[in-house]
Symmetry: C2
Subunit: 414 residues, 2 copies
């Protein structure tokens, strides 16, 4: 047995205890919160090693910032655990039920997923955040973080495991893969005897690799090529506000927009208004020919590639379209299926857009930045699914669970 | 573009029409039913070619039987389409909704999956059954059947496509892959730009190949290594009835049982009663040492391999266990996670078993043969999922759908 298979076996065993652990899970989460605070010195010391290694190997300042654990970030991890503890337990909920004519009582109930694998990149706080959610959802978790954060992750995982044990639950509820070579990641994707689901959290490259190679069922998260379509009837101030907010409030996140589509009938009026708002933040515009014609110089000619791009930066692709239909065709072709918005005052167009656009979140007259578990009231979020199977959009605790049928009879045969 | 990519593109286009097709879908299903009846002569003629080819290539009689389309089976396909048409439309259901503090109205609504791929084996009636369910669920389908049934499948698909078109919906709602080489199956597993989900229907080998190799999200169906555990407190007559029914009523299906576990405290009384019932059908018993000791000759010694086997035949593995815990350990280790049953008169043990056993359907005092979409009242069934992601147990129309968030605002930004 490989190290990972052994971890898988231990996780499966722990998962059977977690499945019926009830309020002990909350006790464990509170113990984790306390332990993270108590051990913040040790965590920061481990993190300092990662930071130094990162600087020595020439990591960019933005990556160093993702890696860094401050007192505030450790407190965020701890209070996050407490918030998760305070959420209602998803396990055991009766989802539906009926008595069949033959007297069988059939109930569909929410149960844990079992063992969840998470492959993630630089942010060590994911270790605590993801483990807390999996624990509350009644599943064991095997975490495989990036090599840049390995010392921080080891320390955090060790602190959490001890706390889980102190609360009377198996420490193998939370396990960290210490081998951060590519091999361990590949092996995790093949661990279908032990993992019930694998969730990649990180950049597009990581997600694509996991989706394409995993034998374990995957939930694809987080790639967001999001659009705002400015309809002919749009209020210009509202359109400009929404575009400004969705592009500039946090360009590096997946619910930020990457392309604006503008109806030809309003383009001459709308584009200068939109551009002057975006100029406040120095947003670079990659526009179609018509856009360049209207806005003049300062527009970079957009190529086919621009429509596919997730810039995650102060860059925006802009295209003038002939109709609502053409806008929807564009979205169907280029979108990653995350979040799209129509700005319109036309009731029928709002209906056509919301029913016809096939993305996780479809907005009328609001910023795509709201696509978020916290904003949607899920209480917590493990990621945003851009696939259609199992979960779509922000995933909270319920999306980390499965279901089963329980059938009570008194001797029925078929 | 390959032939399959072209099919994928046409399917995607058709799926956008289907997503908002409403009651036109029912009109199309009724047209399909009529057309299948009208063209039953042509379908039988095409089927006769498959049957002759099958005989010439030495297919077993049981495979020939699966392949055969009679008037009754064609009528079954037609009336199946009518039954699906009569089911409520799953699309558009509001699953949940709320108004956030900022005034945003957030609704989670049921939407079609998009494009569904189905890879199946010998039974040509799957072509009609699966296509009807996908159509009602608002998705386009790409069907890839086995080479043995290719002439039947081509004829059925052609009849269905014409009927769909006559009802005003795109004929590409239903497409059949005519290339039945291994290559086409492999290519389908890589068609992630077009397929939203891939469902294999067939034997364990096909399912394993698809699960391991597909880049498209898969729903794993149908492998059933099911168990009955006879608790110390079980009523012997009930235990024998349930075991007899679950093993012999249709041994070739996935919800038939393969292993019986018997508590040591009741084994000496129970095993002879169970065996004498099973002897009526000539069931071959592969037993543990203790079983052989109690039942004497006529028991084939069970090997480790027997506990994993899905016999799909009049064979049964039997093991005496020391406790409920040991029975549950056995199930956790060897079961495929389909259906398990405890026969008991002990209330607490029924609770421990139903909460602790992690399978799609967990029974108290009833035959596992009830794990079926029709029996559970789902109205129709595309298969029985043995995975935990997205769907588990019998899958009806709802399990062939996805969801999205629709958010209505009036200018909200974050």
């Amino acid at each position: 047995m490989t190290v990972l298979e052994q971890m898988g076996e231990r996780a499966k065993k722990a998962s059977r205890v977690l499945a019926v652990a009830g309020e002990k899970k909350d006790k464990a989460l509170k113990a984790i919160a306390d332990a993270l605070r108590e051990e913040s010195g040790a965590i920061k010391a481990a993190n300092a090693v990662d930071i130094e290694n990162g600087r020595n190997s020439g990591l960019s300042e933005s990556l160093i910032d993702r890696l860094l654990l401050t007192d505030a970030r450790i407190e965020g991890m701890a209070s996050g655990c407490e918030q998760v503890a305070a959420l209602p337990d998803p396990i055991g909920e009766t989802l539906s039920g009926r008595i069949l004519e033959n007297g069988l009582e059939v109930r569909k109930v929410r149960v844990p997923m079992g063992v969840i694998g998470i492959i993630f990149e630089a942010r060590p706080n994911v270790t605590a955040d993801a483990a807390a959610l999996c624990l509350k959802a009644g599943s064991a978790v095997i975490l495989r973080g990036g090599k840049e954060a390995i010392n921080s992750n080891k320390c955090i995982a060790s602190v959490m495991r001890k706390a889980v044990k102190s609360a009377g639950l198996p420490e193998d509820a939370i396990q960290l893969v210490e081998d951060t070579s590519r091999q361990s990641s590949v092996e995790m994707m093949g661990l279908s005897d032990y993992l019930d689901v694998l969730i990649p959290r990180g950049g597009a490259g990581l997600i694509k690799a996991v989706v394409e190679n995993s034998k374990v069922p995957v939930i694809e998260t987080g790639v967001g090529n999001c659009h705002v379509y400015v309809d002919e009837s749009a209020r210009l101030d509202m359109a400009a506000d929404i575009i400004f907010n969705a592009k500039t409030s946090r360009p590096s996140v997946c619910n930020a927009i990457e392309t604006v589509l503008v109806h030809r009938g309003i383009a001459e009026k709308a584009l200068p208004v939109i551009k002057s708002r975006l100029d406040e933040c120095g947003v670079e515009i990659h526009g179609c020919e018509k856009t360049a014609e209207i806005l003049g110089s300062g527009v970079i000619p957009a190529t086919e590639d621009d429509w596919y791009r997730e810039y995650l930066d102060l860059k925006l692709a802009v295209r003038v379209v002939d109709s609502l239909d053409e806008a929807m065709e564009h979205i169907a072709k280029y979108s990653s299926g995350h979040s799209e918005c129509i700005v319109t005052e036309n009731y029928e167009n709002s209906r056509i857009f919301t029913s016809g656009v096939d993305s996780a979140a479809v907005y009328v007259n609001a910023s795509t930045r709201f696509t978020d578990g916290g904003e949607f009231g899920l209480g917590a979020e493990i990621g945003i699914s851009t696939q259609k199977l199992h979960a779509r959009g922000p995933m909270g605790l319920n999306e980390l669970t499965s279901m089963k049928f329980i059938i009570n009879g008194n001797g029925q045969i078929r």
